[in-house]
């Protein structure tokens, strides 16, 4: 088929402005003064209102900070050009909806501006999230350095609390969730045969909210009093009364990251529902598309609840309201209910896209149709529904109504059923397949095995008596790292290696990839497996010090974690080197059937010259003459072969 490469696009934008007018054009020159302007507006309104109402003092640090954490990001977004089109539209001025000058990337600079191409946005997402992954990983290593020996060595208690809080918040809100959004952004429109996402401008905006949220959370270390230190769960009333102003950085950071993920999810849903290629029914969609469809439903429905919970905490903190203040009639436990009503579904938001990636990789690399395709899709939906009925299993020791415990225990355990369906389907897919142990496959298999361990400890934790024994111990730390590191992170790596040739047009270094996998896999198990034992012995999490009898094992864990951290260097080196110097990749190096592999690597700027016609299932590997889709050229051949009367 013919492919349009990047440099053949001549749809030129208006000539670039010169002189002082460059300050008015969307971009990094407009960002500083626009940000300053919005800062001034935010401060001005705050001071004016406080003066009119006669509140004292007129200039109050906590209030100004809170307002500016809203106003300054808007200034940044306005400066970089996130709202330009809509402002012109709202004013009734001429807009150019057919202007595609914001599409595609011709140089590295195009990754640093508002770009409406889903492929560029996907890469923007992935690079940004890996940056925050490394940052959060370094925080974890600082933590392990402190924990290597009993007693206090490097940091004080409050700083330690800040370290684990920011580590978790960055890993969850700035790495796992958006990394999946990044892979989805790149792959979904290609997989369903669409030229772009349904709302490209919204897509661009939702990416630029991410660095804002990330730097806000990292920046909380610089706030007076230090970073937010109440854990990523930010339980009230601890987070609303006894925290420095850094706590508000977390509250607002979550709002920005949450807004970003709601906008992306909405975009995914509309794209998947309205823009599938002809012939692609729901039952012909690849499982990654199914996974992102269910995840997006979860995001749209659940994320507003964490927005609500963070608003309440922030109001209690800054405005001295009484949501969680028992003395004034508030209800302290309410925070945990509202928070976990989002944050339990959020663990599926952090896992379902990984299921999708694993399904793609395992089917392609064992050269067999995925086992139980429909049940794989339906089990995703079952997890979606059940996920909303289990939140209180995080609260068995919180003092909630005791009658709620057993139902929540039962529903939590029932979730193992659809998850088990998926695990057994992957195993059945592998059964008797011609398995290719390329790096993506290694990570996918690593994911299946590690996720089973995490899932089993999850069953332990769902049982009320065991949960009461292990609450807030390292057993919980081990569990969440087996599901989020062994689960989500391994699938993210699998996805990055799998689609790397498609995204960059170059092949990664297979030897380094395998080295990365084995270092990660071994380092991960050495780091987190001993934590199960520590937890059962009663070592509490989130404490900088511990009794000397845990010393040896903690030293071992710390050393292993440094090795695990070092394995990331292999990954980063491989990515940078291969992107720059790697050998050119074929259009379809894995011999996959799905649509994204049927176009050139990297894909043409608008993905397809002609929208393909889907004629079969996406996973018919090993089935003779099976086709997932036919393209324009092939269709003409078929037409010519039809005998004319």
């Amino acid at each position: 088929m013919t492919a349009v490469t990047h440099d053949e696009v001549h749809a030129g934008p208006a000539p670039p402005p010169t002189g002082w007018r460059r300050l008015l054009a969307p971009g990094w020159l407009r960002v500083p003064w626009m940000t300053a302007l919005f800062f001034g507006i935010g401060a001005g309104i705050t001071v004016l209102v406080r003066w009119l109402e006669g509140w004292d003092p007129i200039w109050k640090g906590s209030v100004i900070t809170t307002v500016e954490l809203t106003a300054v990001p808007f200034g940044f977004l306005a400066g970089i050009g996130g709202f330009d089109y809509w402002m012109r539209y709202a004013a009734g001025s001429p807009t150019r909806p057919e202007d595609h000058s914001g599409h595609g990337a011709r140089s590295w600079r195009d990754y640093f501006r508002i770009n409406t191409d889903h492929k560029v946005i996907g890469i923007q997402y992935l690079v940004t999230t890996i940056f925050f992954f490394v940052a959060a990983g370094l925080l974890a290593m600082l933590m392990r350095a402190e924990l290597a020996r009993p007693g206090m060595q490097f940091v004080d208690n409050q700083t330690f609390n800040g370290l684990f809080s920011v580590h978790a918040a960055l890993m969850i809100f700035l790495f796992v969730i958006p990394a999946f959004a990044g892979i989805g952004n790149y792959v979904i429109p290609l997989m369903i045969g669409a030229p772009d996402m349904a709302f490209p401008r919204l897509n661009a905006l939702s990416f630029w909210l991410l660095p804002i949220a990330g730097f806000m959370m990292l920046g909380s270390f610089l706030a007076p009093g230090g970073a937010f230190a109440s854990g990523w769960t930010g339980y009230a009333p601890l987070a609303s009364t006894h925290q420095p102003i850094g706590s508000v950085f977390f509250n607002m950071g979550v709002q920005w990251a949450g807004a970003s993920s709601i906008m992306t999810a909405l975009n995914f849903l509309v794209t998947i529902i309205t823009m599938r290629a002809p012939g692609m029914s729901f039952w012909r969609m690849p499982l990654l598309v199914w996974a992102n469809f269910t995840t997006s439903l979860l995001v749209v429905i659940a994320t507003p609840f964490i927005a609500g919970s963070q608003f309440f905490v922030m109001f209690d903190h800054v405005m001295h309201t009484h949501f969680f203040d028992y003395q004034a009639g508030g209800y302290p436990l309410g925070y945990q209910h509202i928070f976990w009503f989002y944050s339990h579904p959020a663990v599926y938001i952090m896992m379902l896209p990984g299921f999708g990636i694993a399904s793609e990789v395992i089917s392609v690399m064992s050269r067999k149709p995925i086992f139980g395709y429909r049940l794989m899709a339906l089990s995703l939906l079952a997890i979606l529904v059940l996920g909303f009925s289990v939140w209180a299993h995080h609260m068995f020791v919180a003092g909630m109504a005791p009658w709620l415990r057993v139902p929540m225990m039962v529903t939590s355990m029932v979730i193992a059923v659809p998850t088990g369906i998926k695990v057994f389907s992957w195993l059945a897919t592998l059964w008797d397949g011609r398995i290719h142990f390329d790096t993506p496959m290694l990570f996918a298999l690593g994911f299946v095995s590690m996720f089973v361990i995490g899932g089993l400890s999850g069953i332990y934790l769902a049982a009320v008596p065991i949960d009461i024994h292990t609450s807030d111990t390292y057993f919980v730390v081990a569990h969440i790292h087996y599901v989020l590191f062994g689960g989500s992170l391994f699938t993210i790596f699998a996805g990055i290696y799998f689609w790397f040739p498609k995204m960059t047009g170059r092949m990664y270094d297979e030897r380094l990839g395998k080295l990365h996998f084995w270092l990660t896999f071994i380092g991960f198990n050495l780091t987190f497996f001993p934590m199960h034992w520590l937890g059962i012995q009663g070592m509490p999490r989130r404490v900088a010090d511990y009794v000397p009898r845990f010393a040896d094992l903690n030293m071992f864990i710390s050393l292993a974690s440094f090795g695990l951290g070092a394995s990331t260097l292999v990954f980063v080196y491989n990515m940078v080197k291969s992107w720059r110097f790697g050998p050119a990749a074929a259009a379809n190096p894995w011999r996959s059937l799905t649509l994204e592999w049927q176009v050139s690597s990297p894909p043409p700027i608008f993905n397809f010259d002609e929208i393909p016609q889907v004629v079969g299932n996406p996973y018919e590997y090993g089935v003779p003459d099976a086709r997932h889709a036919v393209f324009n050229g092939d269709r003409q051949v078929e037409l010519e072969e039809v005998p004319t009367r």
Binding site: T2, V4, E8, V9, H10, A11, Y89, A90, A91, G92, E98, H100, A194, P195, D196, A198, F199, I262, L266, L269, V270, I273, T274, M275, R276, A277, P278, M280, V300, I301, A302, T303, P304, F305, A307, G308, S309, F311, F312, F315, M319, H320, T321, H322, F323, A328, G329, G330, Y331, L333, G334, H337, I338, F341, I605, F606, N607, D609, E610, I611
Partner: protein, 198 residues
């Protein structure tokens, strides 16, 4: 490379429309679903506070102006009808009707918001007074913020209607803000019933 492919370089191929639902309408409905859940979290907080209070509700010293707020409710609900009128007018190609309908809707919405602010200043309790004050201001304030967003959308639609946009065939720029505005109105009825009457 064919000539056809060159043409595609400047323009993406038309996406295949795989659903009868319009993408923009679907997007707005999904956004509203998300908004409903945001209100849901605030209502959850409201009922937590209310149920755990174990006393007469509203707690002592909080008289709400049910009658004035009722009038305000009627103002907001009638703005839904003017919004519908505006949309029906442009569907028939009646620009004057569209302009009048949108302007009226905007003014009614603004009246609602200003009345709300005036009510705030005369209530005699503040968000930091106690949990009732907190939950009252936050629920009505959240709704007020949505009225503000709705008014911003309406303002854009109104300005565009005066600058000659929208025709009988192309009027999604009126329709989509309209859907949002109806949502804001319905949400107010729920908030009013819960907070003022029940």
């Amino acid at each position: 490379m064919t000539v056809q492919a060159e043409a595609h370089a400047a323009h993406p191929p038309e996406a295949h429309q795989s659903s009868r639902v319009d993408a923009r309408t679907l997007g707005m409905f999904l956004f509203i679903a998300s908004e409903v859940m945001l209100f849901g979290s605030f209502f959850t907080a409201y009922f937590f506070v209310r149920v755990s209070a174990h006393t007469h509700w509203p707690t002592a010293g909080h008289e709400l102006p049910v009658f004035v707020a009722g009038i305000n409710t009627i103002i907001l609900v009638s703005s839904s009808f003017t919004m519908h009128w505006a949309l029906q007018a442009i569907k028939r190609g009646n620009r004057a009707g569209l302009q009048a309908g949108l302007t009226l809707t905007f003014l009614l919405g603004l009246t609602f918001l200003l009345t709300q602010i005036r009510e705030y200043s005369r209530l005699g309790f503040a968000p930091y007074t106690d949990a009732f004050g907190t939950i009252f201001y936050c629920l009505t304030g959240l709704h007020g913020a949505h009225v503000f967003v709705g008014l911003t959308l309406l303002l854009a639609a109104t300005i565009r209607s005066y600058r000659g946009h929208y025709t009988a065939d192309a009027h999604w720029g009126v329709e989509i803000p309209g859907i949002y505005w109806h949502f804001v109105d319905v949400m107010w009825i729920v908030v009013y019933t819960t907070v003022y009457i029940l």
